[in-house]
């Protein structure tokens, strides 16, 4: 892993609000920026807007080539012309989350002094601990700024699904259809545990420098890569790893100095994980990773409503689609079922499907034709009920 990689600075489409955002932790940010991308055209009565919420390491480049990696959009099989979220019909908005590192306010942004002026250095680890609710508040500001009162649909997987649930709970009148995918209403102890391993890997990297790595220009690439490798295992399944790599060996790269190469050869799965780790550090900020993993860990929607998840959705008229995947052990189906049952208790209109796949949690990002057909059909049905289709 190259220790000298730095994130390329790219200009992101954004809007800055300077009327302050009060965070759940009690801090108020006087100004905050939301970086976002849009696709398609907003119709005359502003009724065809769809908000896509990204996952932990996602960003706003959902349906176009990424400006840093050059790779296709992270959900370009789902969002685009003729896709399930059809940009020929819908106006799609995808913001970078608060705390992110793709242009929205986060640990990389210049810190605010107590008097509200901006310092010359980034927030780093002093960035306030944000929550999923804070992220949604920031997104609501963006939606209002775009002149949209009601979103036709809000959708997202994993942490994106947490935002969807939070949207539906906070702003039921602004969400006609909600699609929380491969997600849960709270982050489980096991998931928090995996996040903690990732955070400790970052802390253990000498280049982390207590989070002030901008001072030396050396980023904690190794720590962040290990965090990514650990997390990446949780996104797959044993079956998928066996199918893709089995126990196959390959020669270790000759120029590598890493300890594992003492053996002269490596398992293909090791090589794959190292690749995942090293490409990740080129596009992601370590302090952002700490901030966002923490936001997920804090998420417990029922706790905000007296311990009963149904209370969060009482009386809602939003139409829900919950989707999960058989081999997803990070956000297993029972967690989606828990949400579905809470919605039943709240009298909500809920569809709930589990898709058979061996691809684990990552399935929501991959080529799953049944899942995609179902998304398309659900949105088509909702469009009829919303009066979007004549």
């Amino acid at each position: 892993m190259d220790q000298s990689v730095t994130r390329t600075d790219v200009a992101h489409t954004h809007v800055t609000f300077d009327d302050g955002i009060a965070l759940e932790c009690g801090t108020t940010l006087r100004r905050h920026t939301v970086a976002f991308r849009t696709y398609g055209t907003l119709n005359a009565d502003r009724s065809n807007a769809v908000l896509v919420c990204h996952a932990l390491t996602g960003d706003q480049y959902v349906a176009e080539h990424h400006p840093i990696t050059g790779k296709p959009g992270w959900w370009d099989m789902v969002v685009g012309p003729g896709r399930p979220v059809d940009t020929d019909r819908f106006f799609v908005i995808c913001p970078n989350v608060l705390g992110g590192c793709m242009g929205s306010t986060g640990p990389l942004s210049n810190r605010e002094r107590p008097d509200g002026t901006l310092a010359d250095e980034p927030w780093g680890t002093d960035f306030p601990p944000v929550t999923i609710r804070d992220m949604v508040h920031a997104q609501k500001r963006l939606i209002e700024h775009l002149g949209i009162e009601r979103l036709f649909a809000v959708l997202g997987g994993s942490m994106g699904g947490m935002q969807v649930l939070q949207w539906a709970a906070l702003y039921p009148e602004s969400v006609f259809a909600a699609l929380p995918i491969a997600t849960a209403s709270y982050h489980s102890a096991q998931n928090i545990a995996f996040h903690e391993v990732g955070r400790q890997a970052i802390f253990a990297d000498p280049d982390w420098q207590n989070g002030r790595y901008w001072q030396t220009g050396r980023i904690p690439a190794r720590g962040l890569a290990v965090a990514r490798m650990c997390a990446h295992i949780t996104y797959l399944s044993e079956e998928a790893l066996t199918r893709k790599f089995g126990r196959r060996l390959q020669n270790a790269p000759k120029d590598s100095t890493e300890a594992i190469n003492l053996f002269g050869e490596m398992f293909e799965v090791e090589s794959y994980l190292r690749h995942q780790g090293s490409t990740f550090v080129q596009r992601f900020d370590a302090n952002s990773y700490l901030t966002i993993t923490r936001a997920m860990d804090y998420f417990d929607l029922a706790a905000d409503y007296g311990g009963d998840l149904a209370t969060a959705f009482r009386g809602t008229r939003t139409r829900f689609l919950l989707a999960s995947f058989t081999s997803d052990w990070l956000f297993p189906t029972p967690e989606s079922r828990t949400v579905a049952r809470a919605l039943n208790r709240a009298g909500a209109n809920v569809s709930f499907v589990e898709f058979p796949t061996d691809k684990g949690h990552d399935a929501f990002l991959l080529d799953e034709p049944d899942f995609h057909r179902t998304l398309a059909g659900f949105l088509r049905g909702c469009a009829v009920h919303a009066g979007l289709v004549r």
Partner: protein, 212 residues
Amino acid sequence: MSTLDPVRFLAKNLRVDLALIAGMIAPGARVLDIGCGDGTLIDHLFQTKGCDARGIEIDMAEVTRAVAHGLPVMHGDADIDLAHYPDSAFDYVVLSRALQAVERPREVLSQMLRIGTRAVVSFPNFGHWLVRWQLLSTGRMPMTATWDRPWHETPNIHPCTIRDFFILCEEEGYVVEQWLAADDGGRRAPWRRFSRLANLFGEQGVFLLRHR
């Protein structure tokens, strides 16, 4: 027992008992269809009667088909998931051709009439003459067009007759607002005034119930 309005609308390809059930449901009603399959009935109720119709189905492939068709259907089990709905959430709760396949039919019926004002239940009639004749003449479990799986393969673990169902309703204190017997060909049997004849010649029973 009130007389049933004639079924005026018999959609093409709509299963016979579904058409009969649809005939019992008022326009604009809130409906939950338990064991809704691919959602044919809820689609029909929305398209022709403007009902807010939703479904539960245990077979995931059917759930996927229904949702991909734009219908609000969730994966669930009648024996477990009805407990999660609030009281009186629906005007009608429908259980078509599934009563005989649930683990606890009495409990399911009681949940149906807790979460709905009315319940519509259809089931294949085990008292049909052909079933009786086959059992009598061969001494083996009957195999008919309706009861078409061998005893060790059938999901129908609680078969009952039309008479049995009347007796259960009596025991549980449910009012039978409407009932009829039909054959699989779609003609309603003419003997619906006489339950014993219906029990002999009806291939399926369709009941509209409410609490006393």
